[in-house]
């Protein structure tokens, strides 16, 4: 027999069991009905996936680009891929001529792997692909996981994209195998993964109020000069940003990455096999950030370009030192003058080659 417990001496919290007025059997069946309600609600939630493709989000430019490529214009000859630096930095209208139209198909955070997804959709009229990459992608150590973000891959699927075996083969070089999973998922898994769109929809609504300096409508729809950043950043903020970027960079030694060269070679080969010219554009870098890249890395890059490691002469544009500080709106995005300079520079190379 156990001795009486002296629990009154212990200041443990009191326990308040539920009062259960109903019979346990009734309660059990009520619980089953409630669980069924939860499942019914979850089932109804699945229907929302039907409207996801039309919900505004940060990656809806993917839809704009895919739609444009699926309804091609015969005069489209040149396309430019890249990230927000190119969105702000290249005016495809200025690059176009009467018989040779160009399109700026860059999008926010677009990586080489993401650009490569569009290659299969390019219409036969396209003869020149200008592919932009950042200097940091070429010379600084970074994770391969960033090569194709799951959300970006999922956005392609949501907008009806399916990679061909040829594209998947190219992507195996450009991105780690696991990052390709969202591209291969079935429709249900793809829809479940696409719930980020709902959250972004809320957030971009707020951003339109909070970021008057950004033109998100233009960024989503404009295929010539999307230019989401519309005005220069305040100098004090820019200084903070530079300092932060420098601190971020402190730990990494810059050197030309083997993977980068292989990736570019694979992308070039892919385009050339389809009968297209591939021009590599190394995007401009703000002069304030020059010191982030060790001189040895820059020399390495120069040598690599001269020796043809990234492609034959005339097909590589090194725009890293093209722009002055005043040509930028912020630490990376060219302003109107910068865009004009960069576009003229690209036009020259494209026409020459």
């Amino acid at each position: 027999m156990t001795a009486p417990l002296l629990t009154d001496k212990i200041s443990a919290p009191t326990i308040a069991p539920d009062s259960q007025p109903q019979q346990p059997v009734i309660q059990f069946w009520v619980s089953i009905a409630l669980v069924a309600s939860v499942l019914a609600g979850a089932g109804a939630g699945l229907l929302i996936f039907l409207i996801l493709p039309i919900v505004p989000n940060d990656l809806e430019r993917t839809r704009t680009i895919l739609m444009a490529l699926r309804s091609p214009r015969p005069e489209l000859h040149t396309v430019i891929f890249g990230d927000s630096v190119i969105m702000n930095g290249v005016d495809a209208g200025e690059l176009s001529t009467e018989r040779n139209a160009a399109m700026n198909l860059s999008s926010s955070g677009q990586t080489l792997a993401e650009s490569a997804l569009y290659y299969q959709e390019l219409p036969p009229s396209v003869t020149t692909v200008v592919q932009s990459v950042r200097l940091s992608t070429l010379v600084c150590p970074q994770s391969r996981e960033a090569a194709l973000k799951p959300q970006a891959a999922n956005a392609f699927r949501v907008y009806g994209y399916k990679p061909t075996p040829d594209t998947l083969q190219l992507l195996n070089v450009l991105a780690p195998a696991e990052s390709l999973t969202p591209l291969k998922e079935n429709v249900l898994r793809c829809a479940i993964r696409a719930r980020w769109i709902l959250r972004q929809w809320l957030d971009i609504s707020a951003r339109q109020l909070l970021r008057p300096d950004m033109d998100m409508d233009r960024a989503a729809c404009d295929l010539l000069f999307p230019s989401p950043f519309t005005r220069p950043m305040e100098p004090a903020k820019l200084k903070v940003k530079f300092n932060w970027l420098r601190r971020q960079h402190e730990h990494g030694r810059c050197t030309l990455g083997v993977n980068a060269a292989q990736s570019i070679a694979a992308a070039r080969k892919h385009c050339e096999r389809a009968g297209r010219r591939f021009i590599l554009l190394v995007a401009p870098v703000h002069p304030e950030l020059d010191d982030l890249y060790e001189p040895s890395a820059r020399n390495e890059l120069k040598q690599a370009i001269q020796s043809g490691r990234f492609g034959p002469p005339g097909t590589v544009i090194d725009a890293t030192q093209l722009l002055n500080a005043g040509d930028f709106y912020d630490e990376e995005h060219p302003g109107a003058d910068g865009a004009h300079k960069l576009t003229r520079f690209i036009k020259q190379v494209v026409n020459e080659s």
């Binding site: 156990t2 001795a3 417990l5 002296l6 629990t7 001496k9 212990i10 200041s11 443990a12 919290p13 009191t14 326990i15 308040a16 069991p17 539920d18 259960q20 109903q22 346990p24 309660q27 059990f28 009520v30 619980s31 009905a33 409630l34 669980v35 309600s37 939860v38 499942l39 609600g41 979850a42 089932g43 109804a44 939630g45 929302i48 927000s84 926010s108 799951p150 719930r195 980020w196 709902l198 959250r199 809320l202 957030d203 609504s205 707020a206 951003r207 909070l210 970021r211 950004m214 998100m216 960024a219 989401p228 950043m233 305040e234 903020k237 820019l238 903070v240 940003k241 932060w244 912020d330």
Partner: protein, 479 residues
Amino acid sequence: MLFHTYTFLIFSTILFAALAVFRGFTQRKIVLLAASYVFYMWWNPAFGALVAVSTLVDYAIGLALNRTDEPRKRKALVAISVSAQLGLLMYFKYAGFLAENLFVISRLLGFEGPAPTFNITLPIGISFYTFATLSYSIDIYRKQIPATRSLLDFALFIIFFPHLIAGPIVRAAQLIPQLERPARLTINPSILFLFLGGLIKKTLVADNVAVMADAVYANPEQWPSAMIWLATIAFAVQIYCDFSGYSDMAIAIARALGYELPVNFRHPYFAINPSDFWRRWHITLSLWLKDYLYIPLGGNRHGTLRTYANLTLTMLLGGLWHGASWNFALWGLWHGLLLVAHRAYRQIRERWLGPLQEQSSFLSRTAAKLLMQYCVLISWIMFRVPDAEKMLIALRKFVFFDMNFSLAGIGAGSLFIFSTTLLLSGFAALHFWSYKHNGLHACLARMPLKTTMAACAAAGLALILLWPLQEAPFIYFQF
């Protein structure tokens, strides 16, 4: 195995099926014991042996304590128990931390030598079950409870899976008597709402607001004060929903199995002062610290200064209980100082203005709540940011508001302001309702069936739309 995973769904289905088949009193306890070991060893099978050894040591010591009345022998026995349990905790949790700090001190004193390398895997939940076993032997030593003769009951008390990993910290006096009588499997709406509420807190609120807190605290220097504030509030909600969500699910599962676990949270963000906060936040830990640390240190029995020192030391150690890192120590110290400041304020106020009135005005209560939560938010920055430099930046921006509301310069894809604010507002509204009605699950259980079914359908809808894509472990698992 996490409560909100498919693995746990399968585990619990098998467990309930087994309990339905084995209806004998002892049979069910054996099934529960086996299931609890499976649950624990899912992470790392080797650590099952560690819990088993702890269990056997304290079981034997408990029986030995029961057999003797000789003070010296009893003292020696309890000392063995405490040393064994704390020794294991020190080795697994604090050895690396101590070695690192000794190394830094020795370098400062001019000694040269290689930096120590410790690669010890922390057994999950060790802080929680160590406190449970410690309280058992100390309570027997104090003659507050008798030692249990049943090894099965004692082993189940230690490893009972709902409370094992992240509490609530259960005392022998609470669980062992329940294990000595037959338990009845129960499924009722109240249990369902409690579990569902915990699940929603964890997956819908905690894991979703964490995205913003993580983004901001990764680089606090990059963000203006407004964002630091929002991220801090987001983290305060995240940690509350994460931990209390786990506790709710644990209590609900235990209730379904026929056992009652102690309450761990009582709307802590409505606390009006530091003492009140600790009567509402992680209640089982604060009571443990009070009973087994603060009172043995002398409590408030040896004068004002000693009381202050005891309070500070208790909270400092309470902070370190969370993890072997200086930011946790600082967090504990801050709470200790808040308790001291509050006690000093009360004493001074009572001396000059007479005894405090219980019924204070709405305005003064609201002001007290806001001030208290301001202090709590500061403490969450200490808790969340282990890097000293980043912590100072975040604290400076939090305390000295920069009035900068422009968000230019922040990457287009990195803003979660609106959805996070919306989630936080939704949580705040429900939490306030729960506070006013003494618990949301109890309130729902009283509503008409149609209303509760509609609420459940809404919960199902929210779960499918907002369930995070990546499984996030509970914050308190690391402790």
